[in-house]
């Protein structure tokens, strides 16, 4: 993976750029000492690192606008940053870029339970949005596994999902409005505490635009009343294929669980060691959660059980207490961390049609044998969003490259069976060069036109999402 060469004209003016930022903003808002900058050299795609030219951590929308105006006037690239947990290199800086982070914008501005909305500054973490409303019986639905750390700004940037999105949708389905600063410093309000867009539904393209259209400083989100109760059930199968077939059957039968999560043996063992959730030691595990009153839960689980029994499960076990349910989810949500304690891995994020699960799992197994690299599978099976973790040894020369090749093959497979390169983590730098597998030149050109409108100078996060060859001539 290649980053564009930093613009020497920007690097040369580094001192002047920093001086102008410091002049316009409170002193503690601008970081330019090398030690301070190292903290921003990467996101959660840690294989790639590059300290930025400077970092700005504004305390208001106005300060964001002031910083952007300066960068715009001086033609300085900008990388927006939330909490830096992107797995795709979305907030990876370039050496000539100013990182503008929203970490200090964490206020809740308004909650309204009658209208079921919350308005907040986007540096607030995902989990603390629910935290702000849960005592009153509400929650914010999208729940990425990284929810303790990741910020709403990054969720909007990536259109993030989570385990419970099968029922509640992803970020774009729960986002009602934003305050966003354009690259030239213009502040726009788009959407609000109501449902329809007036004219064009600009939120659609803003959500998931990976920091390339503007810096989002405030958001209005839909909050929902908490369900009466929820209960997960664990089902163990002796093959991934059978577990996959069971998932398709459940969906076709018209039962709609809130979550259907899948793990294979390597992942089950790692998570069990980490969270002691009582996962059975089987080839493939499904965690299926349903919601409602106790009677409703019993009824849905009965239907799900009936379907599962046809696939001869090795184990079916319902959670019997709130603690047990919490442990089951802790295990699942710690999957990446737990695997990381055992092995270096690369996490993929393709989506496939649910009906192709058995085939794709088999083909991944074949690729694993072919490349000689292990794979652990953990993913949102209900919506076909796969997270194969390819295991490799970072200290072994050539292993990372081999792993990347195998990852690319798996993502090509996802596209080939009718799916896509990324279901929730975003393209970033990681999948940038695979975009041509999924899109024609014309398809990509249409997307670039959107950026032309929002950011005519192509200064915002411009080295991401699209292959560099495709954006050549647009980027400064």
């Amino acid at each position: 993976m290649e980053l564009p060469r930093p613009n020497p004209m920007v690097l040369e003016r580094r001192a002047e750029i920093v001086a102008r930022l410091k002049e316009a903003l409170p002193a503690d808002t601008v970081i330019d000492d090398p030690r301070g900058l190292v903290a921003y050299e990467c996101d959660a795609l840690t294989a790639y690192r590059c300290p930025p030219l400077a970092v700005v951590l504004p305390r208001s929308t106005d300060e964001v606008a002031a910083a952007l105006r300066i960068c715009h006037a001086m033609d300085v690239p900008v990388v927006p940053r939330g909490a830096g947990t992107s797995l795709a290199g979305g907030s990876l800086p370039t050496a000539d870029a100013v990182v503008i982070g929203v970490a200090r914008l964490t206020e809740v501005l308004e909650t309204d339970y009658a209208d079921r909305i919350i308005r907040l500054q986007t540096g607030r973490t995902n989990l603390s949005v629910t935290g702000a409303v849960e005592a009153d019986g509400f929650f914010y639905a999208p729940d990425p596994s990284s929810q303790l750390a990741c910020a709403i700004s990054g969720n909007i940037g990536m259109n993030s999902g989570g385990a419970h999105c099968l029922k509640y949708g992803v970020t774009t389905n729960n986002l009602l409005g934003v305050t966003m600063v354009l690259m030239d410093g213009t502040v726009v309000e788009i959407g609000g505490a109501y449902m329809d867009a007036g004219d064009l539904d600009l939120l659609s393209v803003i959500c998931g635009s990976e920091g390339q259209l503007g810096i989002v400083t405030e958001a209005t989100l839909r909050i929902l009343p908490k369900p009466e109760g929820a209960r997960p059930v664990l089902m163990g199968f002796d093959s991934s294929r059978v577990a996959g077939a069971c998932v398709s059957d459940i969906i076709e039968a018209g039962v709609l669980p809130v979550a259907i999560e899948f793990m294979d043996r390597p992942c089950i063992r790692a998570c069990e060691a980490f969270a002691h959730a009582g996962y059975p030691d089987v080839e493939a595990l499904l965690i299926i959660e349903v919601e409602g009153s106790p009677a409703e839960i019993d009824h849905q689980l009965r239907l799900i059980r009936e379907i599962a029994e046809r696939h001869a499960p090795e184990v079916i076990r319902e959670s019997t207490s709130a603690e047990e349910s919490a442990a089951i989810w802790l295990g699942r949500k710690s999957a990446f961390g737990a695997m990381g304690q055992i092995n270096d891995y690369m996490c993929l994020d393709g989506t496939i049609p649910v009906t192709e699960l058995p085939l794709v799992l088999e083909r991944i197994g074949e690729l694993s044998a072919q490349y000689g690299l292990g794979v652990a599978n953990v993913f949102h099976a209900g919506d076909g969003n796969m997270h194969p973790l390819i295991l490799f040894d970072a200290n072994k020369p050539g292993d990372l490259e081999l792993c990347e090749q195998m990852g690319a093959d798996i993502l090509r497979l996802c596209v080939e069976v009718g799916g896509c390169l990324t279901g929730e983590h975003g393209v970033g730098v990681e999948k940038r060069d695979l975009m041509t597998v999924q899109f024609s030149r014309e398809d990509l050109e249409a997307q670039l036109k959107v950026k032309d409108v929002f950011d005519p100078k192509w200064l915002l996060n411009a080295a991401k999402v699209f292959p560099l060859a495709v954006t050549e001539g647009r980027r400064p």
């Binding site: 079921r116 009343p225 990324t422 929730e424």
Partner: protein, 358 residues
Amino acid sequence: MTVITPASEAELADAVRSANAPFAIRGGGTRSPAATRPVLSTAALSGVVLYEPGALTLVVKAGTPLAEVEAVLAEKSQRLAFEPMDHRPVLGTSGEPTIGGALAVNASGPRRVQAGAARDFLLGAVFVDGEGTRVRNGGRVMKNVTGYDLARLQAGARGTLGVLTELSFKVLPVPERVATLALACDDPSRAVAEMARALGSPYEVTGAAWDAARMLLRIEGFAESVSYRAGELARLIPGLVPVDEDPWPALRDGAALAETQRDIWRISLRASHGAILAERLCGAGAKVTLDWGGALLWAAVAPGTDLRAQMADLGGHATRLRGEGNIPALHPDPAPVAALAAGLRQKFDPRGLFAPEG
């Protein structure tokens, strides 16, 4: 007027490329008065491309009549959960609504309050832009963040960014049972407050409307579940009683207002502001109904009334669905936002072929 009915995407692209004056894009023509421009019809781009009930996905050509889509889904006990409205009662038009037309106006019925709008169920789109270029975006899977979401941007764009040719949707199972509960109530503020109570409960209300005489709630799901929830809601809101009729299609279509000779407006605003505006308008003699818990207000007002003047302090926006005059049908966006929208139209349709009629 000339009507061009391309038989394929390629023919459509040719027609756009060789055009030198604006078109009137037509699906079923149910939303539009007689065209004053050459018509570009999607009628021949029709049919189901792929339907996988087990993956809850449907891929369909844009000119397919909605009725046909619904029939295909019904065979497998599935449906379009966003309940697209039928514009014919209000507009007095004929023709068959198409799936492309529904998406182009983001037509979303009462279930929007719980399940979402047309845009929320859209998985992907193919369209031909103003230069005759075919663009594919999104796909047919449930989760997809690969590149910008240009497919969803088409929802509500009214064809101004391109002619839709193919769409994919997430579909949902038809519930085992549906129940409607009603509370006699002619006060919109009380209705909105009660709807907020219901929508803030865990009982998954999939419709919350006020028809000027009653507050109406809908619950859907497994039979046992529906009876349980109906009971709980009645406990929460004393006076709530089950009704046998199905009021939702009429509420969805604004049918109660259709009979009048007045202008018809559809206003999207904050639910609690729906109550405020309803009070104002009812006080001034308008006929009003509410949907989406108050967040959608339908109003029939004297011809030529500028409703926007009466909601300036409330936010949200008003679309005039029926009526004529100098007042723009769509709510003007603030200047910097309007500039972005205009910029996008300039990029996707530089020759203004798809510019709104009238």
